[in-house]
Symmetry: C2
Subunit: 339 residues, 2 copies
């Protein structure tokens, strides 16, 4: 057992709410949405201290392997190529099978933004301690607004380096979210997890035995070319997919939370990206009498006059113009659904 | 002297406030802004009844003659090609010289919209009667809002078929405009005029002798190819240009007004066009949770979410997004100034 933390970077998910920038061919993790590095590259950068983290395992759909190889150029990574998406619980199980028992995994989405890397690494080290004590750990993001788009985690009994989890709360309504913030002791569930690989697999076997068995079979019959491991497709295809939250975290009696404030955003829509970018436009543009207007153009000049709270995105042959609140509905547009 | 009215269609003016659709190469009169016919073509159509109107004379800059020939295809028109723009007073004088004394001219801008052609023709016939009595006639558009972007005309003594003009009023402030509407007896100055050709020339000679002499010289030394007449450039170039309003209408003691309500709009900016189009979008678009949003796209799909009172125009490599009120400032954008 090494003392290093093994990052497992999940590259699934489409991100249609960032359409038209995010498309099937170029999903959200692989876009330069903030700065010169893509969100996936920033995720790699965040775990690049080899005195703390082992070389990461990247789990992604086969279609995106070329993007991953290109964007991770020169870095030491292992890749697991999913024949199809089955949500997070099986993806993490694949990674758990590909490392020795007892090693601590740190599961990271590849499409989030984290401003404070030091805080992230500190939380990872706390989570590692809890994982070594047999805990299944969720990062609990300190909320700064009564968001209704996230799940919440209620802290329970204090532990060294964190807390037990009293309960998970589904996305609340606004009133409930406001109550949570006033009351304290609640965090957002940011989708970042840590646990020992064998603990995860045994919990999965306990709560989702069918899923666990099928992942095991797909791994046994899988193939590796030295860098990329591909599970056997037929077994994997029959899995009834589910999230780690439902399949394991809400089922286990060993859940723990490490609260952390690290400038986190899931960049779940254009309004969230505007916040994370602090409203900074890019591409040719001119704004006159505009307040809270962000322009992102990949070519054409965008001229805006007399607007308030508007986001304008030009990408190829698609133009999106949305209010901040409207950003929630972008994923439902005809264009975002690929038509 | 014929009993027909001679339309004189003025095609000057750039219309930068309809940028990016209106550009130097394709100015406002020559665009399909409303319906299948361009504003210039609609102007021709409006005077196409040859029992009322003679074949029109079109006055335009040399650069736009090919557009005019193309758009007037198959119609009987005469063309006067101005070597450079000198505002409306000299342009109208050129046309006056090209027809016999005593003929009634009807001066029409080529970039306005008129919904009710019958009302227009009726007003033209009233104006003709007044012109035959030696009057210089302005169409007075019945105002339907306290617009601050137009000049106003105050009616004076009643005449058969119209009124004397008591006074011209420069673009008023809002309070004054509201007062005008409450008081009654005011019309907008729509830039449509009628008079006998020799009356116009004699008034111009009286009030702007230098301009009149230079136009006369440019006409004397001009050249015609049978369809297009080109005044001599050197004389025309030295003219100190001015509008018919300042040079003649506000100076003469014979001004008259024919009030008319004919669904008129000068389509002076995108908001005015949205009104004239009754908000109808064109080009590929999808609107979700939008109120008073108009999209005009020449190709790319425009998707809009959660907007109110916004106009979106996509034209080639330019994207304009403006509020209704912001439309007033479009002409001042970097792009509109040709940079």
């Amino acid at each position: 057992m090494s003392s290093l933390i093994h990052p497992v970077i999940l590259c699934g998910g489409g991100g249609t709410r960032l359409w038209p920038r995010s498309r099937q061919q170029a999903p959200k993790p692989f876009l330069r949405l903030l700065g010169e590095r893509t969100l996936f590259q920033q995720t790699l950068d965040r775990v690049s201290d080899r005195s703390v983290f082992a070389a990461p395992i990247v789990v992604a759909g086969v279609a995106h392997i070329p993007l991953i190889v290109e964007q991770a150029a020169g870095q030491d990574i292992a890749i697991i190529a999913e024949p199809m998406g089955k949500n997070t619980a099986p993806a993490i199980a694949l990674a758990a099978h590909r490392m020795p028992a007892g090693e601590v995994m740190l599961v990271c989405p590849s499409d989030h933004y984290i401003g404070d890397t030091a805080a992230f690494v500190g939380a990872a080290q706390s989570a590692r301690q809890l994982a070594l004590d047999g805990r299944l750990v969720s990062f609990g993001i300190t909320p700064n607004a009564p968001e209704t788009g996230y799940g919440y985690i209620k802290r329970g009994v204090s532990l060294p380096e964190g807390y037990e989890i009293e309960r998970f709360v589904e996305k609340p309504d606004l009133e409930t979210a406001q109550q949570f913030l006033a009351e304290g002791g609640y965090s957002w569930n940011g989708g970042i997890f840590a646990f020992a690989s064998d603990r995860y697999l045994s919990e999965l076997a306990q709560h989702r035995p069918d899923m666990a068995a099928k992942v095991q079979a797909a791994v046994s019959d899988g193939a590796s070319d030295g860098i990329t491991f591909t599970p056997e497709e037929a077994s994997f295809a029959t899995i009834d997919g589910d999230s780690i939250d439902y399949a394991v975290m809400e089922a286990t009696t060993s859940a723990a939370v490490v609260p952390v404030s690290m400038g986190w955003s899931d960049i779940g829509n254009w309004q969230a990206l505007r916040d994370a970018r602090e409203g900074q436009s890019s591409g040719p543009h001119e704004l006159v009498d505009c307040v809270d207007v962000m322009v992102l153009s990949d070519g054409p000049r965008v001229s805006a006059v007399g607007l308030e709270d508007v986001i304008i995105v030009v990408d190829g042959d698609e133009v999106l113009v949305t209010s901040g609140a409207g950003a929630q509905k972008v994923g439902k547009l005809t264009g975002a659904s690929g038509r």
